[in-house]
């Protein structure tokens, strides 16, 4: 095993591929958080009064809250006054209307990341709402979508152009009082994506957005709101990579999904933010609140996530199964390597009758990584015939990593059927031997086995993401064999 594990060590210790920093003039405000900063952010974004009031309510509530301590993660205390709460690329003021107007340096960055916007427009048929340091800079395919009545734009644009929709749905799934990080986000969020699918419309393409964290010391507070009206369908992709940086950065995003009668929302994420170096220095703190609300009958929300980046991930995409016959799904692959920590899982709250939920969670720990699944399945009294199936599998590579499971199951209705299963395993030496004996190198074998382990989740991803996800795992996870 000696030589092969050396090889593997090399692969594990591979530097972060997407580590580069684009020199851009940023339109930033001074460090720190106060009511003035909240007002300033709102003013800079030229927001209507209801938004400002909402932000202020959130900020005042935030002051009364303290940071949650229950997660199975450890980090140095975060100084919320030592952060910049707003930063937008300078060129944004003119508001580029097409790709040609976009800062060429920015475009080059995307090319390095492997998302050539222009090519995408033609080849992949994906509309990209690229978020670069908190302000949306390029939106494609807007016209095409508008024909069908679909609104897909940056959040600030939505606030200006569709205030009635924003007012109606903002905070209706994740209220500003929800939790410490969601409340902080409500007070200071800078931008994000807004998506509205009208009644009976099936969105003709996969909608996608790229989040990037660029300016130094800027917490990124994104807010995404997706509303699917009756009978609508949308598949939304979110992908992230971030440049290499030494200081920890806080990312506290909020995602709200609303599905009305017979609507279906599929939300996929590939998260590959900077995880810190091999000694655990630096990296992103990813504290995200994601929640979907199956408001209507027969509505369907599915979360798929591949989490390979971030120093700390703290994320529980949840579904409120309010409508009768609604369905919630959660498919997750979370990988922790080096000193990464992940505390992730889901919440399925069954409120309506005949609701169903499925949870498939795959955790992979290598190096000194700590990976925890924390989930809640709750069946309320009126939720007749609720059904849940949960499976959490962990794969351990190396004897210094950890895999933890904290499933909470609460049933208040006797017709509920709930199953939970969890297993822990590692890559067997016999499996490796089998592959190597057939001429497959150790790292390829590991990659194959791990991809097999994650197959159930990958098959839920849209094509473009599935390829990216497999590549990502290939880079960040091979190794630590036996």
């Amino acid at each position: 095993m000696g030589s092969s594990s050396q090889q593997l060590d090399q692969i594990i210790s591979k530097e972060y591929e997407h580590g580069f920093y684009t020199e851009l003039e940023a339109d930033a405000i001074p460090h720190g958080l106060s009511e003035d900063v909240v007002r300033l952010i709102s003013k800079k974004k030229n927001e209507p009064d209801f938004m400002l009031q909402w932000r202020l309510k959130a900020y005042r509530h935030w002051l009364t809250m303290s940071e949650p301590k229950w997660a199975q993660v450890h980090h140095a205390p975060i100084d919320y006054q030592d952060m910049v709460y707003y930063s937008a690329p300078k060129s944004q003021k003119d508001g580029p209307k097409s790709l040609e107007e976009v800062d060429p340096e920015l475009l080059a960055t995307y090319t390095k990341l492997g998302i050539p916007l222009k090519e995408q427009e033609m080849l992949a048929g994906v509309a990209v709402d690229a978020v670069f340091d908190s302000v949306s800079v390029a939106t494609t395919f807007k016209g095409k979508l508008a024909e069908q009545g679909i609104i897909f734009c940056s959040f600030s644009e939505a606030v200006q152009e569709h205030p009635e929709l924003v007012k109606k749905y903002l905070g209706s799934v994740v209220p500003y009082t929800d939790n410490f990080f969601a409340t902080l986000n409500s007070a200071v969020f800078s931008d994000g994506s807004f998506c509205y699918i009208p009644k009976g419309v099936r969105c003709p393409m996969e909608l996608s957005t790229y989040f990037r964290i660029n300016a130094k010391n800027t917490g990124q507070f994104e807010r995404t709101l997706i509303v699917a009206e009756e009978g609508a369908y949308v598949s939304y992709l979110e992908g992230c990579t971030a440049p290499m940086r030494d200081e920890n950065q806080l990312h506290a995003a909020v995602v709200e999904l609303v599905a009305l009668d017979n609507a279906r929302i599929k939300y996929s994420t590939v998260q590959n933010w900077y995880p810190g170096d091999k000694d655990g220095k630096g990296g992103i703190y990813n504290f995200v609140t994601k929640r979907g609300d199956c408001r209507g009958k027969h509505s369907h929300i599915s979360w798929t996530q591949v989490e390979t980046g971030s120093a700390i991930t703290w994320k529980y995409p949840s579904v409120l199964l309010r409508g009768d016959y609604s369905v919630g799904e959660f498919y997750s692959v979370a990988l922790t390597n080096n000193y990464q920590q992940a505390d992730t899982g889901t919440k399925m709250i069954h409120l309506g009758r005949n609701t169903k939920s499925t949870i498939i969670s795959k955790g992979i720990s290598a190096g000194h990584g700590q990976n925890a699944y924390r989930g809640l399945v709750k069946v309320q009294k009126g939720a007749e015939n609720a059904r849940n199936y949960t499976q959490c599998d962990s794969l351990l590579m190396g004897d210094r990593c950890g895999a933890h499971t904290f499933p909470y199951i609460e049933a208040k209705n006797p017709t509920a059927k709930i199953e939970h299963e969890a297993t822990t395993s590692r890559i067997g030496e016999d499996q490796l031997f089998y592959c190597k004996q057939r001429g497959i190198s150790a790292e390829d074998a590991v990659s194959m086995i791990v991809n097999g382990f994650c197959k159930e989740v990958f098959k839920e991803l849209p094509m473009e993401f599935a390829v990216e996800a497999q590549k990502l795992l290939g880079v960040s996870l091979e190794g630590s064999v036996g």
């Binding site: 962990s394 004897d399 950890g402 499971t405 909470y408």
Partner: protein, 441 residues
Amino acid sequence: MIGAQVRDRYLSDFKRVEATLPGRAVSWMQNTRRQAFEKFAASGFPTTRDEDWKYTSVAFLGEQEFVPSVAKVCEITQAQISTWAFAGSANHLLVFVDGYYAPGLSKIGAIEKQVLLTSTADLLVKQPELLAPLLQRNIDSAFAALNTAFMTDGMCLYLPAGSIVEDAIHVLYIATSPSKIYHHRNIIVAEDNTQATVIEHYVGINDAVYFNNAITSVDVGNNATIEHYKLQQEGVNAFHIANISAIQNRDSRFNSHSLAFGSRLARNDISTRFQDSGGECEMNGLYVVGGCQHIDHHTCIDHAKPRCTSREYYRGVLSGASRAVFNGKVIVQQDAQKTDAQQANHNLLLSKDAEIDTKPELQIYADDVKCAHGATIGQLDDDMMFYLRSRGISNDMAHGLLTYAFAHDIVDRIKFEPLRLRIEQILMAQLPQGEKIKELL
């Protein structure tokens, strides 16, 4: 947190009874009690804001005034004892009434003479030095601290190396009077190559409101085997909080069975720690509750050393407006390679007002391990019901039969036959048409 009023009440109780408690002549014991009380006064009772007590509220302790039991209240007759005793099989019977040893009702049969089987209070008088290290540990939680401060009596079993107690030791704890708080303290020390079976049996003789707070500590030496059963049949209005914690040495075996039927509210903390390699542990549990009962099991298996095996099987049947909580924690420490840990918790919800909260929890810090857990919540299978109904078995009876079969998986794991038969009886009595089911089997 603890309200000043509640604390003052416990403090005045402590001052009043301190001089009557066993071990009053032993200075370290006095200190231990005082320290423990300080600890309790500082921490107070847990609230539902504490993660470990999220689903179980002990608010009743603030509302209800319990006074420490200082003496036996009711006389218990030999005839009463015989209804609980295991006829002809268990040769050792220790009876505690209202927290105090009742030698007249107890009967210790032939036993290897170096084996010590006695009451904790007795030993505190005769050989206190034996107990010093055992009573001074395990006082971290509020209830353990409270127990240490007020503890009156309990069973004490000391097995010197190589000794075996063939017959099961049946320990009966009888509560007779209302508004009392009982603090039992049981100690089992099994040195290398020893073997014994202990049955802790808690009963209430009426529907009095009382509070039983018991602690059992078990030290299992190298290659020793301890079979531990806990049969809980407290009165319907009783509160029962018990803590069983074991420490396992090399190649030792500790099997725990928790069979919970009685009480208004019960909480069991059962834990074991493998502090050397090669140990084995099996934890079985069965809770059958109805009415407004609340039963909570928190188990913890700490794999601190390599090559240990643990198995955990818990099943629950809930009817009426009852509520059950299960929290099974398995920790595999960094160097505990080759650990094999399996855990399963299955629950049958039979009524619309019953509630189950289960949380099987794994914390794994080693890679070469086999760990799995499973939890299910469901009802009786429709197909099975149909099968039985189509063969002319009444609805009630089919119901009872399937419930019985569900629970029997745990009953089957009881090795001590008289106890197994007793549990079957208890189950039959609780099921619809139990008598008829008996005929069928």
